[in-house]
């Protein structure tokens, strides 16, 4: 009997098998035929192993970076990159992360169906990364695996429902409708940008839209993740290698290979690892997300899909570049502050500044023109530099592997859960999650009252204008 149980436990400790089983469920729900179900399930299993292999490549390239940084500046240097850290996390917390991801989706549908927050979070990749982070934090807090999955799924579902709601007031200004929302882990930073842009807006001399500017073309390579990661990491690796010194690099790390070439090759290897991880994530999600979308479309009336940030890029292409640059400058300013303060140093990650900075620029532009785009995206850049720093201790064991989560929401959710866990242990975490759940329902109820009043006011106005005529 115990032998059978051991076999089962063995199986369920394999995250790749858990993810494949979730795929199996997803495909069966979509009533695919036997061949498609088999194909999708096996593809997911293999896709997860591809992802794990990519994580190995990334870790291999990051370790010498950490050592060089330590040698050069005598402090820890960290590059926030979601793919890199998720790859590492999944090696240890993969099963819990996969289950939290899956049940979190169900909670998201349930919340969207029963509250005024009709957002269905369809950016599977970043939702998967959030699930991985929640799994680590609850795991570090000492919960049993079943409790990690239970409370983690609730936290995940709450996050998926409420994160789009945060940006929606500004999103309406961008799209001119209430039909689509942003589903991305940069949302807190993007909403901050909208807020800053609104506050700094001047009634007397409103700032013009970024789209009135004529921008030089030729920055198209910025859209290519593989190229931009390799180039930006190349610059960072070479700078760090120069400061670490050729003698250290060539004797300790590169086995005699020239230190500049070694640094460039490690940076390219890092990009290669991210490429492999992305390929794995793509395969894993391909079978699960369509099922989620199909189910939510049937179950939630008036559902608003929350989608990845590039959906706003087409609304204001100039704001995309302005936002990226302003955010990146924010990241550099933040890094300089850390150098003087003597903390661990967060090196600006170009991908994060591009994705969330660009969206902050578009949102900031819609709320407050050029000035809003610049100031809002700059604030986002500052936020995504300091939040990862604060997140480092929370992530416990994996927090010190030269990488961390990059976008603002990881910082917010991570600090919330991690702070509760440090302050009051498991009980505080459970109380915090339940309190958030109650708060969502109260907010929903309050919204219903406000909407009712708005509708009443609107109809009163209508009758007035009719009588006036």
């Amino acid at each position: 009997m115990t032998a059978v149980l051991d076999v089962f436990l063995d199986i369920f400790r394999q995250p790749s098998i858990i993810v494949a089983l979730i795929s199996l469920v997803g495909l069966s729900v979509q009533r695919k035929n036997f061949s498609d179900v088999l194909k999708g399930t096996v593809r997911t299993l293999v896709g997860f192993l591809v992802l794990a292999a990519g994580a190995g490549v990334v870790v291999g390239a990051l370790n010498p970076f950490g050592e060089m940084f330590q040698q050069a500046f005598n402090v820890q240097g960290v590059v926030p990159n979601n793919e890199a850290i998720v790859g590492q996390v999944l090696l240890d917390y993969g099963s819990a992360a996969a289950l939290i991801f899956f049940f979190g989706m169900i909670i998201n549908v349930a919340l969207a169906a029963t509250t005024r927050f009709k957002y269905i979070y369809l950016s599977g990749h970043v939702a998967f990364y959030i699930a991985a982070m929640i799994a680590v934090i609850l795991g570090v807090a000492g919960f049993d695996t079943w409790a990690v999955v239970l409370w983690g799924s609730l936290a995940q579902g709450l996050y998926m429902t409420m994160s789009p709601a945060l940006v929606q007031p500004f999103m309406r200004k961008v799209t001119g409708s209430d039909d689509v929302a942003i589903g991305h882990t940069g949302s807190a930073g993007i909403a901050l940008s909208g807020l800053i842009a609104t506050i700094t807006r001047s009634k007397k001399s409103p700032s013009k839209s970024t789209e009135d500017l004529v921008f030089p073309k030729g920055l198209g390579f910025l859209r290519d993740t593989t190229v931009i990661v390799a180039l930006s990491m190349g610059v960072i690796y070479v700078i760090v290698a120069i400061f670490a010194g050729p003698s250290y690099v060539e004797s300790e790390l590169s086995d005699g290979q020239g230190y500049i070439l070694y640094a460039l090759m490690q940076a390219a290897t890092f990009s290669a690892g991210v490429f492999v991880i992305l390929a794995g994530v793509r395969v894993v999600l391909a079978e699960i997300v369509p099922a989620f979308r199909g189910i939510s479309e049937r179950l939630v009336k008036n559902a608003k899909p929350a989608l990845d940030v590039p959906i706003v890029f087409t609304f204001a292409p100039n704001a995309v570049l302005i936002g990226f640059l302003a955010s990146f400058v924010g990241g550099i300013v933040g890094m300089l502050v850390m150098i003087f303060a003597g903390t661990a140093i967060i090196v600006p990650g170009v991908v994060a500044h591009f994705m969330t900075g660009a969206a902050s620029g578009v949102i900031g532009n819609a709320a407050g023109g050029r000035r809003g785009a610049v100031l809002g995206a700059f604030a986002n850049g500052i936020a995504i530099t300091f939040l990862p720093l604060l997140l480092l201790p929370v992530l416990g064991a994996v927090g010190f592997s030269n990488s961390t989560f990059s976008d603002a929401d990881y910082g917010i959710v991570g600090l919330f859960l991690g702070g509760l866990s440090n302050g009051g242990g498991q009980i505080a975490v459970i109380v915090g999650i339940i309190a958030s759940l109650i708060a969502v329902y109260i907010a929903s109820f309050a919204l219903r009252g406000r909407e009712a009043r708005l509708v009443a006011a609107a109809s009163a106005e209508n009758t007035e204008s009719v009588t006036a005529k």
Partner: protein, 100 residues
């Protein structure tokens, strides 16, 4: 026949366009078209018969041929028109005709 949706990471937006193309094809009653999504870095000429990208990626994909540029990647109406154009250009019969 293969359609490929492309975005910068090959995860979010392209996947959404991919699912929307599937939806449009189903509406039109067209079968036998392979749809997939990928990232700008991995895509190459000849990977598909038509590539669907957002307006912001027009420049990054100028090495491909038969790129369909979408003004808004969330506009299902625009996608429907452009998918239909592609199908007609490739001589694929649309059974539903104007029913959708």
């Amino acid at each position: 026949m293969k359609f490929l949706a492309v975005c910068s990471s090959g995860l979010g937006s392209s996947f959404m366009i991919h699912m929307n193309i599937d939806k449009v094809l189903k509406e039109l009653g067209v079968t036998g078209v392979d749809v997939d999504h990928t990232d700008v870095g991995a895509v190459a000429r000849g990977d598909a018969d038509a590539f669907f990208v957002g307006r912001d990626l027009e420049e990054a994909t100028n090495t491909l041929d038969n790129v369909v540029v979408l003004n808004s990647i969330i506009d299902l109406g625009e996608l429907r028109t452009k998918v239909r154009e592609q199908l007609e250009a490739k001589g694929i019969a649309i059974p539903e005709g104007d029913a959708a």
